[in-house]
């Protein structure tokens, strides 16, 4: 009935009275002329969001566009702008170093990442982030130390402190991996690799601190801090390998046996290399001290009868004492080097017998020897650094104008510096031609 009624109503439409075509045409022309008079010529149309909503309302109901699409688009734009500005700031800050204005943004981004990982319960992700950030702190420290910023020691010290915190967090995470049943050895492997890299970066930092002559104030404290964190990184790496072994023995196959063995072998070799480096450093320092000692003794001899006699004598005594210290250090480091080498060899034998647990114990033993050796090296280098500038000052006196101690270096390694001191001094003393034009100062130049 309704349908029929509607059909009948619609048929009434055909009875519409239509306007005359003539009137329609005339009225159209009239309307056009009237509205044309009201049109103001416009300048270039500016972009207007209202046009966008109207264009959308061609396909969607206007009320829907106004009440739903528009708020949604606005919210998306706000979120989009927020995210993009954050991404821009975060990416721009990713290369920033401590002390720079974008650095807090970098740290804030890191903190957000860790918080998000913790909130969503991504333990592996959180651990990976802490390891990554620890590595960043180490690299930042290296970059700061190589700069010429007067506050670099202070900034680097803070960064090292942050690195220490990160390393401790990583250590805690390792503990959790060790106790957690479902935790895989892959994360331990990742931590091991990164801890090794951190250790290597910190080694560079120490070399930088030694070679940069302009960083004497507070440099030794920083160096001690770096050593501490470096040992922490070393311990973390060992702990990670230990966990890899444990997990492997528990039947975890996520890391292959060969990889575990490789990790142990790398650590053993690393310990031997570190011990050897220490020994070499001390040996070279000892050589330099030997040459310097001879030079200073000659200075003292030449100074007899002048007003500089007492100061050169005092210097000579100091050099003698330091020289003795370096000689002792040479024998100690030699001993530790032998121990580390022997332990590493034993470890490798155990490794070949698939005795992984004991091989890890050998890493610990070798590392203990290496750490002691490095401690002695650090102390020796510090002692030598304390006396070498004195040599430079004494050499500036008029009496010793004929003596040249010219130090140069062509590499960034402290070892090379010491080595070059030794060779250059030898050249300077054995070739008199150089004496004529050389200045009488002890300088260390880093290229």
């Amino acid at each position: 009935m309704s349908r029929e009624l509607i059909r009948q109503l619609k048929s009434l439409k055909h009875a519409e009275i239509k306007p005359s075509e003539k009137w329609l045409k005339n009225n159209r022309a009239l309307l056009l002329s009237q509205i044309k008079n009201t049109v103001i010529p416009k300048e270039n149309a500016k972009f207007n969001f209202e046009t966008v909503w109207q264009a959308m309302s061609i396909f969607l109901p206007y009320s829907f566009v106004r009440n739903v699409v528009r708020p949604v688009v606005v919210v998306f734009l706000i979120i989009g702008m927020g995210i993009s500005s954050w991404v821009v700031a975060a990416s721009a800050s990713s290369e920033s170093l401590p002390g720079e204005w974008l650095y807090p943004a970098k740290r804030a981004a890191e903190a957000t990442q860790v918080t998000v990982a913790d909130v969503v319960g991504d333990t592996d992700g959180s651990t990976r982030l802490h390891v990554e950030f620890a590595k960043r702190r180490a690299e930042e420290t290296r970059d700061i130390v190589s700069q010429n910023d007067p506050d670099k020691i202070q900034i680097a010290s803070q960064t090292i402190s942050d690195l220490k915190d990160e390393m401790q967090t990583v250590n805690n995470k390792l503990e959790k991996i060790k106790t957690a049943q479902g935790a895989s050895a892959v994360m331990a492997q990742n931590i091991n690799q990164n801890a090794q890299e951190i250790k290597d970066v910190l080694k560079e930092v120490k070399v930088n601190l030694l070679t940069n002559s302009d960083t004497t104030t507070g440099a030794s404290d920083l160096s001690a801090q770096v050593s501490e964190v470096k040992n922490l990184a070393k311990d973390t790496a060992v702990k990670a390998v230990e966990i890899m072994v444990e997990k492997h023995l528990q039947g975890d196959t996520s890391v292959s046996k060969d990889d575990v063995k490789q990790a142990i072998n790398d650590q053993l070799q690393s310990a031997v290399k570190d011990a050897n480096d220490s020994k070499q450093s001390v040996t070279e320092v000892n050589k330099v001290m030997g040459v310097v000692k001879t030079e200073v003794n000659e200075l003292a001899h030449d100074a007899k009868g002048t007003d500089l006699v007492s100061s050169t004598r005092a210097l000579s005594d100091k050099i003698d004492a330091t020289s003795k210290q370096t000689q002792d250090a040479v024998s100690s480091t030699q001993q530790f080097n032998t121990t580390a080498g022997k332990t590493a060899s034993e470890g490798q034998v155990l490794l070949s017998q698939d005795n992984l647990t004991q091989a890890v114990d050998k890493i610990k033993e070798a590392n203990a020897a290496t750490t002691l050796s490095e401690k002695i090296t650090d102390d020796t280098l510090k002692a030598v650094q304390n006396v070498l500038p004195v040599v430079a000052i004494a050499a500036e006196g008029p009496v010793v104008s004929s003596t040249v101690i010219f130090v140069t270096t062509t590499s960034s390694s402290s070892l090379s510096i010491i080595l070059n001191v030794s060779t250059t001094v030898k050249i300077a003393t054995s070739t008199p031609a150089m004496v004529i034009f050389s200045t009488t100062s002890l300088t260390s130049t880093k290229k």
Binding site: S2, L9, L12, K13, E16, I17, R28, L31
Partner: protein, 191 residues
């Protein structure tokens, strides 16, 4: 898509963004006849219908120029036409020209179809009995029902457009339509 085809909406968008008079005259071509007949049914006078139709399009142009919101162009035209018709009735009432006011309503303004259906339907339609019956039934209905029913089924406007024209909500229009059709059926049954 409803009667508001994409082409019409594009024209309206062009009109709003560029204020192009040509776009407006194209819209005039589409709607002029419809508005004319809508007005004519209410005023029953050719000259007045023509005047109101012209006025409606001029007002619509001003409305667009003032950047006022337009949900539907046809809705706007019908609303303007309805208001113009009301204005005309008011002026007639003030001149005591009561010929266009339904005596039964009594409150003054009637915007119905002025009882001119029969005359305007043309010879062939008048001959059709059922059409006559419908027209008579419509005439007997309350103005409120008649307006909504004719706008929906004779002018074939969408509910949203009728809501815009009458200033009522969608639900109110649907309810009125439902009741109007029911009432129309009752009247037809009585006949």
């Amino acid at each position: 898509m409803s009667r508001n085809t994409i082409a019409e909406k594009l024209l309206l968008l062009k009109l709003r963004t560029t204020e192009d008079p040509e776009a407006f005259t194209k819209l005039y071509d589409i709607y002029a006849k419809r508005i004319y007949s809508f007005v004519f049914f209410k005023v029953s006078n050719r000259e007045e219908a023509e005047d109101i139709t012209s006025e409606v399009f001029l007002k619509a142009w001003r409305y667009i120029n003032e950047k006022k919101k337009i949900e539907s162009f046809s809705g706007l035209l019908y609303r303007l036409a309805r208001n113009c018709v009301i204005d005309l009735y008011r002026s007639r009432a003030s001149h005591k020209e009561a010929f266009s006011i339904d005596a039964g309503i009594g409150i003054g303004i009637e915007i119905g179809d002025a009882g001119k259906w029969k005359e305007n339907l043309g010879e062939e339609l008048v001959n059709k009995l059922e059409m006559q019956k419908i027209v008579q039934a419509l005439q007997k209905m309350k103005q409120e029902y008649r307006e909504v029913v004719t706008l929906r089924y004779v002018d074939e406007l969408e509910v949203s457009e009728i809501a815009e024209i009458t200033g009522k909500g969608h639900i109110a229009i649907r309810v009125t339509l439902h009741r109007g059709l029911k009432k129309l059926k009752e009247i037809l049954a009585q006949q």
